[in-house]
């Protein structure tokens, strides 16, 4: 089969690779119909997570059709149209029992790297480097999905592939970001990053009761799309001082909750950003926490900072004093796909949340490298490239 493989920092190539096979009773094989690029892939492609090996197949946000099932699979049959959560969960450990699927104890078969780095190993993730288990990814014609009964979900009729593909990752990540905020109705929520996850977080915050959502980014087309599609207010940080603008927009209080949907390669303007870039390039810090710093500084006293942008290691100048003295609640994590996807599919089917507009660039698998380039450089109004193997 054909698959998009990582061949070194910044280098992606389509190769002929063997087809996946059923390895355990609960496995299913899915023929991939749509597989989206994701901002967190960029950290892998650009070598910021040092656990990629040449030949690894990328991709973790996808949907497709079941073509084979293991003998232990009960919920799916060949021919089912399914969306698959990117996080692999076993369903049998304490974390799975308590619906904290991204913390599964048993789904990362190579846990030593993350145990050394983070103290404990969270769940495995499909197509997400050897730190996350070394699973082959979804930018391929076929993919093996372990624990298929738990990780794959039947897609409601009538929902297009390029819409439901985002129920795999961007939607549950955005929903969890808003869920972390503990919204009860009437809050002001600020969201850093107007990419796919940020826009899903903004829409989720509205659904959960936020009265106003303010999005922060520097790309006018992304901010315009967010205003048009979900009706948010916007701040362009390249033109405006974010902290001042947020204070003004909230009459001095600051947002009740701040969602960070940017991650370790976050961008800013000014000397602090230059300093962060130099430190990261010299590997004196692994991540650039620009937007996390802003979120902590902007958040109202006693508010919540919710982090779903991906971070890998160590950051510099983390404003712990502000977080402590303002009594902030900090919540963060990889999303619990299996907890949120069924509920989100219902909302997708009714049109309450419609992520289809994120798929600005439907492409073939052969155009995968180009898709990532468009996505990384935000060219041609690209919000997401979606590959169709």
């Amino acid at each position: 089969m054909r698959a998009l493989c990582w061949e070194g920092v910044g280098k992606l190539v389509v190769r002929d690779v063997p087809e996946p096979r059923i390895r355990a009773e609960g496995d299913i094989i899915v023929r991939v119909r749509a597989s989206s690029v994701c901002g967190s892939d960029l950290h892998l492609i650009n070598g910021y997570l040092p656990a990629m090996r040449e030949g690894d197949i990328l991709g973790h946000e996808f949907m497709g059709e079941v073509v084979e099932t293991g003998p232990g699979v009960r919920r799916h049959r060949v021919g089912d149209r399914v969306v698959v959560g990117s996080v692999v969960a076993c369903g049998g450990c304490w974390y799975c029992r308590t619906e904290q699927y991204s913390l599964c104890d048993n789904s990362n078969p190579q846990p030593v790297f993350t145990e050394k780095l983070w103290g404990h190993s969270p769940a495995g993730i499909l197509g997400y480097s050897h730190a996350a288990g070394g699973y082959a990814g979804s930018h391929a014609e076929y993919i093996r999905v372990p624990f298929g009964d738990l990780g794959a979900f039947a897609v409601p009729d009538g929902v297009p592939d390029d819409s439901v593909v985002f129920a795999s990752d961007a939607m549950p990540t955005g929903w969890m970001a808003a869920d972390f905020c503990g919204l009860t109705g009437g809050e002001v929520v600020a969201v850093w990053g107007a990419g796919g996850v940020g826009q899903m977080a903004a829409r989720s915050a509205q659904v959960l009761g936020a009265e106003r959502v303010i999005m922060i980014d520097r790309f006018p087309d992304r901010l315009a799309t967010a205003t048009e599609r979900i009706g948010v207010e916007t701040i362009n940080y390249a033109e405006t001082d974010v902290l001042e603008a947020l204070r003004e927009l909230t009459a001095g209080r600051g947002p009740d909750a701040c969602i960070e949907a940017v991650g370790m390669e976050s961008h800013d303007v000014g000397p602090t950003y230059a300093y962060d870039r130099v430190k990261q390039a010299a590997r004196l810090q692994t991540d650039r926490p620009t937007s996390v710093r802003q979120a902590i500084m902007a958040c109202r006293k006693g508010g919540t900072v919710s982090i779903v942008g991906v971070y890998a290691g160590l950051v510099d100048k983390f404003p712990l004093g502000a977080a402590m003295n303002k009594a902030l609640v900090l919540r963060m994590g990889q999303m619990h796909a299996q907890r949120y996807i069924p509920m989100l599919l219902d909302r997708l089917a009714t049109g309450e949340i419609d992520p289809g507009y994120l798929a600005t660039h439907p492409l073939s698998l052969e155009q995968g490298a180009q898709g990532y380039e468009l996505f990384e450089k935000k060219e041609d109004g690209c919000l997401r490239s979606v590959l169709h193997p």
Partner: protein, 212 residues
């Protein structure tokens, strides 16, 4: 004079730094060394399994289930009431075998003694109820005879009783909780056979040891 003064100052700073670094390294090394008692290395490891104590005991005593769970990893043969022969297969296809005497002291406590194997070993396992309804804590204590050089070589080569104990506890937990030990070694990739072999080495390193 100034030059001499600078040299002595530099020498002093270098010596002080070397002593400081040496002491810190020695302290760190001591912290990471297993306890030693009467020539035995003693390590204690534990893992929490999200199942009741009876379920955990059931895993050990249901011979058919145990054999199915160990398939591809090890075979167990009961020689008499207490003595067992175990043949373990490593990931490279090699085999190690030993005979062990296993004594069940009471429900939830057992001891084992390796009679003939690559390294003399004594072990004890206790099952305890985990707090907050989180299942069962499997607490293991392993004593083995080795020397500093042999132990270091074992740690580097991934062939050391402490690493094996941590692997075994992790496997047991996975087998009880979800019926399988997940493996991604045969997932497709764009690697050449040589690159795949090198990647398998990396996988082994990332699979071996760590926390239990």
């Amino acid at each position: 004079m100034t030059n001499n003064g600078t040299r002595w100052a530099l020498l002093g700073v270098t010596a002080a730094t070397a002593v400081g670094v040496g002491r810190a390294a020695a302290r760190r090394r001591r912290r990471h060394q297993p306890e030693r008692q009467d020539g035995w290395y003693v390590v204690r490891r534990g893992v929490t399994v999200d199942r009741s104590r009876d379920d955990v005991i059931g895993f050990w005593t249901d011979r058919e289930r145990l054999d199915r769970a160990l398939a591809g990893w090890a075979t167990l043969e009961q020689l008499d009431e207490r003595r067992w022969r175990c043949v373990a297969r490593d990931r490279a296809g090699g085999e190690t075998q030993w005979r062990a005497e296993i004594t069940v002291e009471e429900a939830g406590t057992l001891r084992w003694r390796v009679e003939d194997g690559p390294m003399p070993q004594l072990g004890r396992i206790e099952l305890a109820e985990a707090p907050q309804g989180r299942g069962t804590e499997i607490r293991a204590e392993l004593r083995y005879r080795s020397g500093p050089v042999r132990r270091l070589a074992g740690l580097v080569g991934g062939d050391e009783p402490d690493l094996a104990l941590r692997d075994a506890l992790r496997r047991v937990k996975a087998l009880i909780e979800c019926g399988q030990v997940v493996d991604t070694r045969n997932d497709p990739s764009g690697r050449s056979p040589g690159q795949e072999k090198a990647t398998d080495k990396v996988r082994e390193t990332l699979m071996t040891g760590g926390r239990a």
